[in-house]
Amino acid sequence: MAEKWLWMLMPWRGCWSSRGKRDGQEEERHVRANDRDYNDKFPYADNHIKTSKYNVFTFLPINLFEQFQRVANTYFLVLLILQLIPEISSLSWVTTTVPLVLVLVITAVKDATDDYFRYKSDQQVNNRQSQVLRGNLQNEKWMNVCVGDIVKLENNQFVAADTLLLSSSEPYGLCYIETAELDGETNLKVRQALTVTSDLGADIAKLADFNGEVICEPPNNKLDRFTGTLYWRDNKYPLDNEKMLLRGCVLRNTDWCFGMVIFAGLQTKLMQNCGRTKFKRTSIDKLMNTLVLWIFGFLVCMGVILAIGNTIWEQKVGRSFSVYLLWDEPIRNNNVVFSGFLTFWSYIIILNTMVPISLYLSVEVIRLGHSYFINWDRKMYYIQRDTPAEARTTTLNEELGQVEFIFSDKTGTLTQNIMVFNKCSINGKSYGDVYDEFGHKVEITERTACVDFSFNPLSDRKFRFHDSSLVEAVKIEEPSVQEFFRLLALCHTVMPEEKNEGDLVYQAQSPDEGALVTAARNFGFVFRSRTPETVTLYEMGTAVNYQLLAILDFNNVRKRMSVIVRNPAGHIKLYCKGADTIIFDRLDPSNQDLMNTTSEHLYEFAGEGLRTLALAYKDLDENVLEEWMKRLLYASTVIENREEGLADLYEEIETGLMLLGATAVEDKLQEGVPETIACLTLANIKIWVLTGDKLETAMNIGYSCNMLRDDMSEVFIISGHTSSEVLQQLRSAKEHILGLSRVSSTADVEKTDEFSDDSVFEETIIAEYALIINGHSLAHALEPDLEQVLLETACLCKTVICCRVTPMQKAQVVELVKTNKMAVTLAIGDGANDVSMIKTAHIGVGISGQEGMQAVLASDYSFAQFRYLQRLLLVHGRWSYFRMCNFLFYFFYKNFAFTVVHFWFGFFCGFSAQTVYDQWFITLFNIVYTSLPVLAMGLFDQDVNEANSHRFPSLYRPGQLNLLFNKRQFFLCTLQGMGTSFLLFFIPYGAFCLAVSDDGSHISDQQAFAVTIATSLVIVVSIQIGLDTYYWTAVNHVFVWGSLAVYFAILFAMHSDGLFSIFPSHFPFIGTGRNCLTQKSVWLVIMLTTVACVMPGLAVRFLKTDLYPTLTDKVRCLQQASRKLRPQEQNLRRVRRTSSRRSAYAFSHQQGYGELITSGKNMKVTASTAGPSPPLSPSSPGRVHNSRSLIESTLKRKGETPVACVSAEAYGTSGTSEGNTRTQQTLMD
């Protein structure tokens, strides 16, 4: 739903105007609440959004102006003007006008429709209702909301403009927002009003009297930053981003809040942020432009040759011929050079059809068609989310057939970002696998029976577990199992939310933790509610209240977290979960045996690509704890080295633990990811994973989706902290690869061309290396002097994984490959952090329907599942490329064949720029007689069907090597075209020299000659397209035969008596068709010409397929042969992961949540804790920090975050709280 709303919020295409109108002068913004007159003094934008470009009156001039900015259109306009000069006009102006007008009209209609939809969406956004305080609360359209207004927002409403939060229904002036539309994060963020303003509450009178003035920064596009000051009642209050509700956010879990509008309309951060998308061009586009320039050069050359010819002719022949053809004024003065000059222009006009205007139009139409085929593809439609694939850019399709590098995000792209409690090991017994009656392990599929959790009314229905023995163990109340789940239910920082009785929703800061708590919930240990000092569990149906004494929070160094609780019986226990190696070091020696078994299980789990944690507990003595707590209280109040002091204390108590077992959580891959990656690798596409995750997590995923394998020759990990270290590591990796691969390289080369995807597969295995590079190393490696080494090394590796990468680095990596490798790059991602790389890469793909829309909005293509990438590239991309290449080849051929005839004729008409054809034929040839068949080919042709495109990924290779249409191919097609034109002219020439019809009258006249050549031409190019078409659908038949029929119909219509009698001077060809095409000899000429033109090409093609068959030819042959038998599906070898990697604490966990909980800051108001903050208790050390120190400590932690984030300095200046930390962390995912 949110996606649909977003269309209205941010019409992405029209953002140009926000830049254009950007007010550069504004240096500081003064806004006074409820003071319309004061605010109106400044030229602040209102909340009216206009992304449409035109209105009814400006449409024509603006649109025409825009259209003539395109070179092609201007070119034809110039031609048109040339044609209006009588001295050089060799063709009627109609010939250029008709196509030009057609193109202009079609484009204008398209622009107008687009603009209309933009207008409609603007209207929809502008007319949405919001409540504005104007004396009292009244409903107002969004567009009438002004800067300085106080607006009321209710739960689940969109924020209408950038507003300063004044007060809210929640305590402390907190409110929760979802920023999915802004930055792609789905988790809730907290905003807090100033205490002074939150006291205003919902008192309308007070709010109406509020007259604070905000002085703040001018409008900008920094979503995470805001600086300003509120002046109210002679006091100054600093404002930061934590007090702002930005347009596009949605209010959640908050009944109402009031805000004061600071930025409106186009000046909101959302609108400022939707920068103009960089116009992407495909390589074919660039090639086409080069070729058009070449053709233009060629045109000028021909013009010059013919002009020189004309000069010579006038000098030698024309001068004497002036008996019958009296020269015009200038030439009469003996100036033959001037005549040549005029002829040059005349020939430019005639020969311009070598680059016909319909080329551009047809290319656009074909691309549009291909985009629709992508949109329509049901095999890229994801039914679960009702999301079809979408080609958001219609100009890049053929580039999809040329991709060499894929840069993929991890979370949400390769993985679903869903964690599933999959297995566990409790007290030395492993649970989670299903065995059949013979004791064999059963593969778990969708259909495997799930454990029935109906005994537990509070269970989560969506939770699935297949091993019923674990439930049995819980039911028989096995103590270790109970303790195991009790730990999971207690030791975490999850916040519960119970909307209705029994309808529990967990707000977990990391999905891993959520999965564990949910597992405990289902197995009967339901975490139901918490207060700062208590945790309430429902253990097998009975409520048990635990007193929460301390949370020993997680951080990256500790890699574990613990809680200390007192159970109702008064026993004090410490529960700890953490990375296995860390926990094992802190175990009581008595656990040795259990540790060994658990360790084995952990290996097993890790081998399956699961994320593991070890769990342990410890019984604590009351006295020991009391003494420890005192020290903790003291440690948490010291100013110096507080962190270290706390860490030491934690360390001290977390010893001598008793091992309980281990959990294994599956980071669920998206469906079909390993297969897709394997298939794309076979297509020789290199896949690089760029993730914000930790090294361990990234490697884990690398293994689980088969990018990393145990049988790889070497996995290089670059993790140097200095430039020289990184350089050293890269060098040695490179030397290692080159040194080793020299041995096997000869064998590889031979294998490459072999016709079997198995051999290709093996070839990839033989010399497989992987490079894993850490974020801080990447920062060094991307420096100018190191990037080449990085690139070379990385390109030698099969797999490249970059972890802890910032969004900016993602873009840099893409840019590095893009500029240095001359290869087509594709970036795929789902979150706001991927936007930069999506925009940088040649092709950006967004995963839609996951986290917000930011990535999708920036992308060129979007679909719901990573696996669709295979179809997008191998089927749609390959076809698009193939079709576009065929189209261009044929198009240039056809136009050369058509146009160069004039060149040959020049020698027989005194180089006078006399056209060979009827001018109507010239007008219609490209837009009527030959446009549809070639369009049909460009839209529908398939050399190899989709099944085989998937089956033989190597078919993708020609696209990457750019084999189907390049300069060589262009020369071939122009050569073929010129050859055809030569035959087209000289065969009729030979035949017509002395031609006489069978009634003796002469038919060797200009018009009969024109009709003969034109008819031959149309037939030849129709046959040629027939030969070029591999896939004759009904449409192709209709178009090809139809075009021929239309040609003859129009020919006879144009040559008919009726038209002539209306416009005698426009249809001088009257009767030619009748007189000429009834002659047997004319048809004999046409037949001869046709065969002579087509046969050589046909023979060459046949011999080529015979002598040097391409893979495509072979596959087509197979396809043909297996048409009768059903093609046996050859599945890609599904490789089971065989990793024996140990996973470390590969959780996307962050520190800081423990404090948040114990401080009670993020507690929702419940009946029990309503009212002001609970009294401080010495037994909860976390709460020693007041809110101020919380910010301080969070700030401090920011400093230790190893990876510099793009906007790190922004956090430094603005006050930071958990929301920001989270933003940053998630951004790096």
Binding site: R378, N1075, S1081
Partner: protein, 340 residues
């Protein structure tokens, strides 16, 4: 159960078109089609070539240059442009019957009727009898638009002005006396030109339509006096004029002058001596042109045309040769997948 609840509003239609599964014919250039195809086409072309060649061989053509370049020629005396109203004679003899119907052509070479400015120099409206354009001819006719006294020229333009104006009379020498061979000048132009494209203004007498206009400078008679004997062959619908106005595509061309279809000559020109009397008016030597007369008969495929027959034979043979090459290559190099 879950599946039914799913919203599928955005689901693309499952049609053959949208899913790119349109039923299609996928022809392959297999050896089984290409090679026999080449052989067949080659053989057919050789057949047509032979037929054309034979047909062409059976056509008799008699061609005589009468430009008068050589001093021995009778027309030499007329080749000097200063000589007016010159008449010369061209004698020839036929040893066999020249089978009829015989067509009589005049030919010009190095004559650029295909020159653009030349071809454009006419007024279509004027020629279709529009009297408005008699007063103000199309500017494309310039410099033959108005004469020095600013009188409009009708028919205007270079094309009309340069109309071929040699006239011929053919005599058979029978026992020393000259027997006129009757010429048939009807229907030598295209039917469409005569009936639709060119029209005289509907003014009677025709002469009145031309009031206030002048004849083209090269013309000896105004347009309404081209054939005073036959009103339906006069003015713009004069057959000779129409033939001239249908301009040739190439610089060497021949145009039909008369048919010989009447009287004793309906079945052809009998063997004997003939004399062609030429009113030599049309200067061509200044631009290196040549004038000739041609007698020819036709076959089913038109006039004599060696080129077409030979071209068919050549293309046909090439097809056969190519099919051989392809057969050899196919037999030697076909790839193994083809075995089945």
């Amino acid at each position: 159960m879950m599946k039914e609840e799913l919203e599928t509003a955005n689901r693309p239609d499952n049609t053959a078109f949208t899913q790119q599964r349109l039923p299609a014919w996928q022809p392959m250039l297999s050896a089984g089609i290409v090679i026999p195809g080449f052989v067949l086409i080659g053989l057919a072309f050789i057949g047509i070539g032979v037929a054309l060649f034979i047909a062409s061989q059976n056509i008799t053509v008699l061609e005589r240059d009468y430009t008068g370049v050589e001093t021995v020629s009778d027309c030499y005396k007329c080749s000097n442009p200063s000589v007016k109203n010159c008449t010369c004679k061209l004698d020839f003899s036929l040893s066999n019957l020249f089978e009829g119907p015989v067509f009589f052509y005049y030919g010009l070479s190095n004559y650029f009727q295909s020159q653009r400015a030349y071809g454009a120099s006419k007024d279509e409206y004027q020629l279709s009898g529009d009297l408005d354009y008699f007063k103000t001819p199309n500017s494309a006719c310039s410099p033959y638009q108005y004469d020095a006294n600013n009188n409009p020229i009708v028919p205007c333009g270079s094309l009309a002005n340069s109309m071929f104006n040699d006239t011929f009379k053919l005599y058979q020498m029978v026992n020393g006396t000259k027997k006129l061979v009757p010429f048939d000048g009807k229907g030598i132009a295209w039917w469409t030109d005569y009936n639709i494209k060119y029209r005289n203004p509907s003014v009677t007498p025709l002469k009145n339509a031309f009031n206030g206009t002048v004849k083209p400078p090269f013309w000896s008679k105004p347009a309404y006096e081209l054939d005073t004997s036959d009103p339906s062959n006069n003015g713009f619908v004069n057959q000779d004029f129409l033939v001239w106005m249908r301009r040739a595509a190439l610089p060497d061309f021949r145009k039909l002058y008369r048919r010989i279809t009447e009287g004793d000559y309906a079945s052809g020109l009998p063997a004997g001596n003939y004399s062609l009397e030429i009113a030599y008016n049309y200067p061509v030597l200044s631009f290196g042109g040549r004038k000739k007369v041609v007698f020819s008969n036709v076959s089913w495929m038109g006039g004599k045309n060696q080129f077409l027959g030979i071209a068919y034979l050549v293309v046909g043979s090439l097809c056969v040769v190519m099919s051989m090459v392809m057969l050899i290559v196919y037999a030697k190099f076909k790839f193994p997948e083809d075995d089945k």
